[in-house]
């Protein structure tokens, strides 16, 4: 079996806050294979971005991290900052949610791109030529003009393309895309998704896509992990996960999609609110809101276990196929 590019094992992250320790991630476990697009899906505040920042080691200083993150055979969490500098941008890169704030407003696009190029590969003799080449790869026709523009002279979609071109300067093997289309309109979203697909194919890059857009997941991703409140509750191939849902939370999430709504019928929601990370519920974190919970759910934490060959679920009472 081929080794996965990235393997996150039992990742715990907590933050010390004024009100106490906030347990944000609990035993997050998943893998990303070579040339795969893997999506982490979950509602706002469930720990998707924290997971991404743990992988690229840019969490704020008040964080405590436990577990293992194996990337290209090395445990990221044991690397020193000086070694991490050699990983970021070179074999792992990241694009952020809001393209308008990803680029420094004080410097021209070209200058930022060239600085990224010289930072990530000092051997490149003509950074400008490489920069123009990258800009045309992410779909710009008028590369010279974009090169000489300031970020705020470009539209959101163009800014995100530039950000993607910067993330590609070191030809990374893993690209983390943290809600790359959330701030964009639907048409631009489609273009960015198309671009990410193209990047995956031309650079053989694996992509960790963080999103709450299930439509995006369906069009782009090979496998999906569903996160709820700091835990990965279900992982499976996209089709399986959509049509053979095992976890009650995933089911609730899919049911609350607007296109399921029939005429004059209210949109189904998951009852209850998110608990506080300062005092997470014991046992399964979803049990207080779960329609299928029983006694054992409040006592033990369900581990994420395979239900079929590729489909994993962390639940004591998973749904069976026909429900």
């Amino acid at each position: 079996m081929v080794e996965p590019i990235l393997s996150v094992e039992k990742l715990d992250v907590s933050f010390s806050t004024f009100e106490g320790l906030a347990h944000v991630l609990s035993k997050v476990t998943f893998k990303i294979n070579h040339k795969e697009v893997f999506a982490l899906v979950g509602e706002t505040g469930c720990g998707k971005t924290v997971t991404a920042l743990s992988i690229i080691k840019l969490l704020p200083r008040n964080s405590y991290v436990q577990g293992r993150i194996i990337f290209n055979g090395r445990n990221i969490l044991e690397l020193k900052e000086s070694d991490m500098v050699e990983v970021r941008g070179k074999s792992m890169a990241m694009i952020l949610q809001d393209p308008s704030s990803s680029l420094n407003p004080m410097f021209k696009v070209g200058e930022q791109l060239c600085d990224a190029i010289t930072s990530n590969d000092p051997n490149i003799k003509e950074p400008k030529r490489y920069a123009l080449e990258l800009l045309s790869k992410v779909g710009f026709k008028d590369t010279e003009r974009v090169f000489n523009s300031y970020p705020n002279e470009l539209s959101g979609g163009m800014q995100q393309r530039v950000a993607i071109s910067i993330s590609l300067t070191g030809k990374p093997t893993l690209l983390i895309a943290d809600e790359p289309t959330t701030a964009l309109d639907v048409l631009t979203q489609a273009q960015i998704i198309q671009l990410l697909k193209q990047v995956r194919d031309t650079y053989s890059t694996s992509v960790l896509l963080i999103t709450h857009n299930l439509g995006l997941v369906a069009t782009l991703c090979d496998r999906v992990g569903i996160m709820y409140f700091g835990q990965v509750v279900e992982i499976g191939p996209t089709y399986d996960l959509f049509y053979n849902t095992k976890h009650p939370y995933t089911k609730g999430l899919l049911q609350s999609l607007p296109y399921n709504k029939l005429k004059n019928q209210t949109l189904p929601t998951i009852p209850g609110d998110l608990p506080s990370p300062l005092s997470p519920p014991s046992g399964c974190r979803f049990y207080p809101r779960c329609p299928r919970s029983n006694e054992s759910c409040s006592k033990d934490v369900p581990e994420i276990l395979p239900i079929t060959d590729k489909h994993y679920v962390a639940c004591f009472n998973p749904l069976s196929g026909d429900e």
Partner: protein, 341 residues
């Protein structure tokens, strides 16, 4: 670009309006103050005849609006009137006293810029560590220590106890006698350098250090605090996280990408403190017997020398307004967001 031009034109018009009102207000104020300019002009022992003559010479026998208009007319021709006490043209006085002030103020602000930026950015990078706390204490001290007190203390320490720097004035008297500086620019250090007068150069540098240091304490504190807080803010920006995540070199991130963003407001603050010190440095000037514009202004106020007060006020206003204008242009040059709005 066109919108920036209109913005600039608006700013210039606004500056002219400000200058006009300052001139008018200072003119009115100087004429409602209960004093007799003619008597000041001729001195206490003058005859009534001499006094009459002075009234005519100063135009005081004319209605106030004529005096006002004439004042403007003269102003346009670069004539700020004559000092009541010394009977010398005010503009000439200002230009004589200005270089002494500019010399310490420019030096103090250059020092403040270098030290402030270095301290401020270092402090931000070491946020919440020991170095940061020390720098913050020093910078709060810098902005809050009264300059006259600090000036006296430096005199006590560096002249009184250590004896390494002279007490006051721009040049020692023996140097002035035997190695006089040939005035070209009015900046003693520069003049001594140009004329190759090494003895005087060393002496003038030794004289300038203490007053410039005292004058620099406030802007050092100001710039340090400004750069630190801006830098801390900028380092939390998404584009810094993005640059880090995509492998930009640390030096590039801190000293290019973050510092340029943090520098602009610090430069603005420094510019204002610079313009303020032109006449606001008088406490330091008086203590160090520094023959600068501040000393000149204070003397003019004490002696009710209204053409001199008016002259300095107008000069100061114009200076301030143009520094501001310059800062706006500088900001637009540094920050494309301002330029492209």
């Amino acid at each position: 670009m066109a919108s920036f031009k209109t913005y600039l034109i608006k700013r210039i018009i606004l500056a002219l309006v400000v200058i006009y009102f300052v001139i008018t207000i200072t003119f009115i104020l100087s004429h409602v103050v209960p004093s007799d300019p003619a008597e000041l002009y001729v001195g206490p022992k003058a005859t009534a005849e001499q006094r009459e003559k002075a009234i005519k010479e100063l135009g005081l026998n004319q209605p106030i609006y004529i005096q006002y208009l004439r004042y403007f007319q003269n102003l346009v021709n670069g004539d700020l009137g004559k000092s009541l006490r010394a009977h010398t043209p005010v503009l000439h006085d200002i230009l004589t006293y200005l270089p002494a002030t500019l010399e310490i103020v420019v030096l103090a602000n250059i020092v403040a810029l270098i030290v402030g930026v270095a301290f401020g950015s270092y402090s931000a990078l070491k946020k919440d560590m020991l170095a940061d706390h020390l720098i913050r204490i020093v910078s709060v001290g810098g902005v809050s220590i009264p300059s006259f007190w600090f000036a006296l203390i430096t005199q006590l320490v560096f002249f009184g106890i250590l004896g390494i720097f002279p007490l006051d004035s721009r040049l020692s008297s023996d140097i002035q006698l035997f190695n006089p500086i040939h005035t070209i620019t009015g900046f003693y250090t520069i003049d001594a350098l140009i004329t190759g007068n090494i003895v005087a150069l060393v002496d003038s540098v030794r004289h300038i250090i203490l007053p410039a240091f005292v004058l620099a304490t406030y802007p050092i504190g100001l710039v340090t605090r400004m750069v630190r807080s801006m830098m801390v803010e900028v380092l939390n920006e998404n584009y810094i996280r993005f640059a880090k995540a995509n492998g930009f070199k640390d030096n590039l991130i801190y000293y290019k990408y973050a510092l340029k963003n943090a520098l602009t407001p610090a430069l603005m603050a420094l510019g204002l403190s610079f313009a303020y010190s032109i006449t606001g440095a008088f406490l330091v000037e008086v203590i160090f017997s520094w023959p600068g514009l501040g000393t000149y202004t204070v003397n003019a106020i004490l002696e009710n020398d209204y053409p001199a007060i008016l002259g300095v006020t107008i000069f100061g206003t114009i200076f301030y307004v143009f520094i501001n204008l310059f800062l706006d242009i500088l900001q637009a040059y540094l920050d494309p967001r301002v330029r492209l709005q």
